[in-house]
């Protein structure tokens, strides 16, 4: 990209994506907080505070965030949506269908995968979703690429009329380096979608649109074959080993390269769809091919297929490389046949682990105390829970919850367990998770008057990801919940303070004993949030 370097900035991978989007002339950016993608929108929000634009806001969830972006596109302008990998599951409906419409203003999804599950419940690989939607993906290997590729992704989006994914992974998202940045491009002018039927996915239109998307696959592949992000470096003569890297796996390969006596032929892939000709050229020049990719063996499984292979392939499928977890320099050294350097060892040294835990004095701790006491007399119970800091209540000393599946699942699961005939059933969910995906299952529970007690732990913030504001203030929860038609006699707001422990226990106990649906909102501000507010107050005062 012929962009003049104007500045050097130290940026997290996430921040490089954010600045790339800003310099691509986005009009709006939307997200729901989720590690490791949170810092993308946080950067854009700070930028907006300083410069007045682009529009940037947290949304109820990833689906609503992407739908907002589609509206921006419909109006002819560019929008970024940021999310963690599992957020794309929530946004899958608009994502898959936005590939069928003719994207107008550029739409880019920055999706951050979390191989190794540092802060997630699975390590799904977003590249499969890209393939599923039949669209394109750029996968940066470093912060500089994250900046440039995000800009390029918008151009691709408008060139092929598709949403484009920038696939990040935790290690890049949360690593800082100097990024050379240039001048930004202006926003698109407002211009409505020229052919409205291209966005009205009635079957007759959808069939035409789908065929058009399939017809564009060839030109997308051609783009990818010629992309400078897919770099083929053939060694002189035939290679005993050829290496294909994708994304940040290249960094670990480069780190080991200086120790390799014989330099392999190498293909790096940073742009998808997979560049077929370049892959074939690498395979043709090698006796064996080692595949290094962060995440699932997406490329490897494609190459292996089900027909006999012309060369031996080494990778995750044959367990030459660990099939789960994230890559690191040592795994890659070993995969290349290099000795791992071992550091210092101290004989007989066993260290106790230090897992994450609720902060000292966290209101969730008090809420769990009350819930456990309220349930004390029952021989058995089910306590479903959800995703947030309060999931740490699964660990000792609390051991208070029994499930964590996906955003909002606590509510629907409790309804199901109650309808299976189990009693007592309690669901525990945070305020932000409730707003994200808990309202719709509560609608089901109200409709069925399910025999369960929902406890919303309201700490007035999105705590786990760094105290982002919730999409609606806590004061609106009451109106929202009663508006669904819950019996007001079985709705309570309690103060999750240790001083109120006895009173709270009694209320929870009474509602568990009620044969039907109850909702209790346990309110107390997160300690981190309170600290932040105090600090901001000081700065403003």
């Amino acid at each position: 990209m012929a962009q003049q370097v104007l500045a050097q900035e130290v940026l997290l991978g996430d921040e490089a994506v954010a600045l790339g989007a800003i310099h691509a002339g986005i009009t709006a950016a939307y997200a729901y907080p989720g590690t490791p993608a949170t810092e993308i929108l946080e950067y854009i929000l700070r930028y907006k505070d300083l410069h007045g634009k682009p529009h940037a806001s947290w949304c109820a969830n990833e689906k609503t965030a992407l739908e907002g972006a589609l509206g921006v596109s419909f109006a002819g302008r560019r929008a970024l949506v940021a999310m963690k990998h599992v957020g794309l599951n929530v946004a899958a409906d608009p994502f898959i269908n936005s590939a069928i419409v003719s994207i107008h203003g550029g739409v880019v999804l920055a999706v951050a995968d979390d191989p190794g599950m540092h802060s997630s419940q699975n390590e799904q690989d977003t590249r499969y979703f890209v393939d599923f939607a039949r669209v394109m993906c750029l996968e940066p290997a470093n912060q500089q690429e994250a900046y440039h590729m995000t800009m390029e992704a918008f151009d691709i989006s408008e060139r092929f009329d598709i949403p484009v994914v920038v696939r990040m992974v935790t290690r890049l998202a949360h690593s800082r380096a100097v990024v050379e940045t240039g001048e930004g491009r202006p926003e698109n002018p407002i211009s409505k979608v020229p052919v409205p039927s291209s966005w009205i996915l009635l079957p007759s239109n959808a069939r035409r649109q789908w065929r058009a998307l399939l017809d564009r696959q060839g030109s997308m592949l051609e783009y990818s074959e010629n992309s400078p992000h897919n770099v083929l470096t053939l060694a002189k003569g035939r290679s005993r080993l050829g290496v294909i890297t994708t994304g940040i796996a290249r960094n670990y390969y480069m780190e080991a390269l200086e120790d390799l006596a014989e330099k392999p032929s190498h293909l790096h892939i940073g742009a998808y769809p997979l560049p077929v000709k370049k892959i074939r050229a690498l395979v043709d020049a090698s006796d064996r091919v080692l595949i290094l990719e962060e995440g699932y063996p997406y490329l490897e499984r494609t190459l292996r297929g089900i027909m006999p292979l012309p060369v031996e392939i080494l990778g995750k499928v044959d367990r030459h490389v660990p099939v789960d977890g994230e890559l690191n320099p040592d795994i890659v050294r070993k995969a290349l046949g290099l000795e791992s350097r071992e550091g210092i060892t101290v004989a007989g040294l066993t260290l106790p682990g230090r897992p994450p835990q609720l902060c000292q004095g966290c209101p969730h701790g008090d809420a769990y105390g009350a819930i456990k006491k309220a349930l004390a007399g029952f021989t058995d119970k089910i306590v479903t829970s959800d995703i947030g800091c309060y999931t740490l209540g699964a660990l000792p000393p609390y051991s208070a919850i029994e499930s964590c599946v996906c955003m909002g699942a606590s509510v629907g699961m409790a309804k199901g367990a109650a309808e299976a005939g189990f009693y007592p059933v309690v669901a525990v969910i945070g305020d932000s998770t409730f707003l994200h995906s808990g309202v719709t299952p509560l609608m089901d529970a109200v409709s069925a008057n399910a025999n369960m007690t929902l406890i919303i732990l309201d700490n007035e913030t999105v705590a786990m990801t760094g105290t982002q504001p919730t999409v609606l203030p806590s004061s609106r929860l009451q109106t929202l919940i009663l508006g669904l038609g819950l019996d007001p006699d079985h709705f309570h707001i309690i103060d999750a303070h240790p001083k109120k422990a006895e009173e709270n226990t009694q209320i929870i106990r009474r509602e568990i004993e009620h044969k039907g649906l109850s909702v209790i909102v346990a309110v107390r501000t997160c300690l981190e949030e309170a600290r932040k507010k105090k600090k901001e107050g000081k700065v403003q005062g």
């Binding site: 130290v10 540092h118 690593s175 960094n251 320099p329 791992s340 550091g343 230090r354 609720l358 902060c359």
Partner: protein, 195 residues
């Protein structure tokens, strides 16, 4: 020149700010820098690890390979031992001696410190006490930067200028406390090395 540092501590101790102070100093001297951090769930009172890589050539990997770190710099004694497999045989282990006891099975502190002393190249720094003497308990990470500064590929002047620049807007008093903490950290290193 390559200088890899493993930074360790417990969520909330300021491991990331410790890392960024050194990174900023290194960049002032034109070095390439990569700083890998831990965000999210682990930050809630759990073990926190950062990888800081300094080099005069571009750096590929964000993560430090095993047996390659020139230094482990830890804000907490137990955490200082967690990443020994990354330390080069001639590397240095510099750790604060102030424990964060938030787990039920925290080892006996004296035995723990004795184990650290047995690691070749280890330097123990009573950073909290030294920071308080310098004028603020919050300057503990500056004491650790000072203790590390003898070995860092960054000039002392550069580090001191950076500290001055960073704290200038908070007033002369804050600058003075942080410089004092940095210099006190330097002295501890010299004393411990010869002990």
């Amino acid at each position: 020149m390559k200088f890899d540092i493993v930074l360790a501590g417990v969520g909330g101790q300021g491991v990331l700010s410790l890392s960024s102070i050194i990174a900023s100093g290194a960049m002032k001297e034109g070095l390439f820098v990569k700083q890998s951090e831990v965000h999210g769930m682990a930050q809630r009172g759990g073990a926190v690890l950062a990888n800081l890589r300094l080099s005069d050539k571009p750096i590929a990997s964000d993560l430090i390979p095993k047996g390659s770190a020139a230094m482990i710099l830890s804000m907490e004694p137990l955490e200082s031992l967690r990443y020994l497999s990354f330390l080069r045989p001639d590397g240095a282990l510099i750790t604060s001696t102030t424990p964060v006891v938030n787990i039920p099975d925290y080892p006996n502190l004296e035995e723990l410190l004795a184990k650290i002393r047995n690691v070749p190249g280890s330097i123990l720094v009573d950073s909290d006490h030294i920071a308080k003497v310098a004028g603020s308990a919050r300057a503990a990470n500056m004491v650790m930067v000072g203790a590390a500064s003898h070995l860092l590929p960054v000039k002392v002047d550069t580090m001191e200028h950076y500290i001055e620049g960073t704290f200038k807007k908070k007033g002369e008093q804050v600058v003075a406390v942080n410089l004092k903490a940095f210099r006190a950290g330097r002295e501890v290193f010299t004393k411990e090395r010869h002990a």
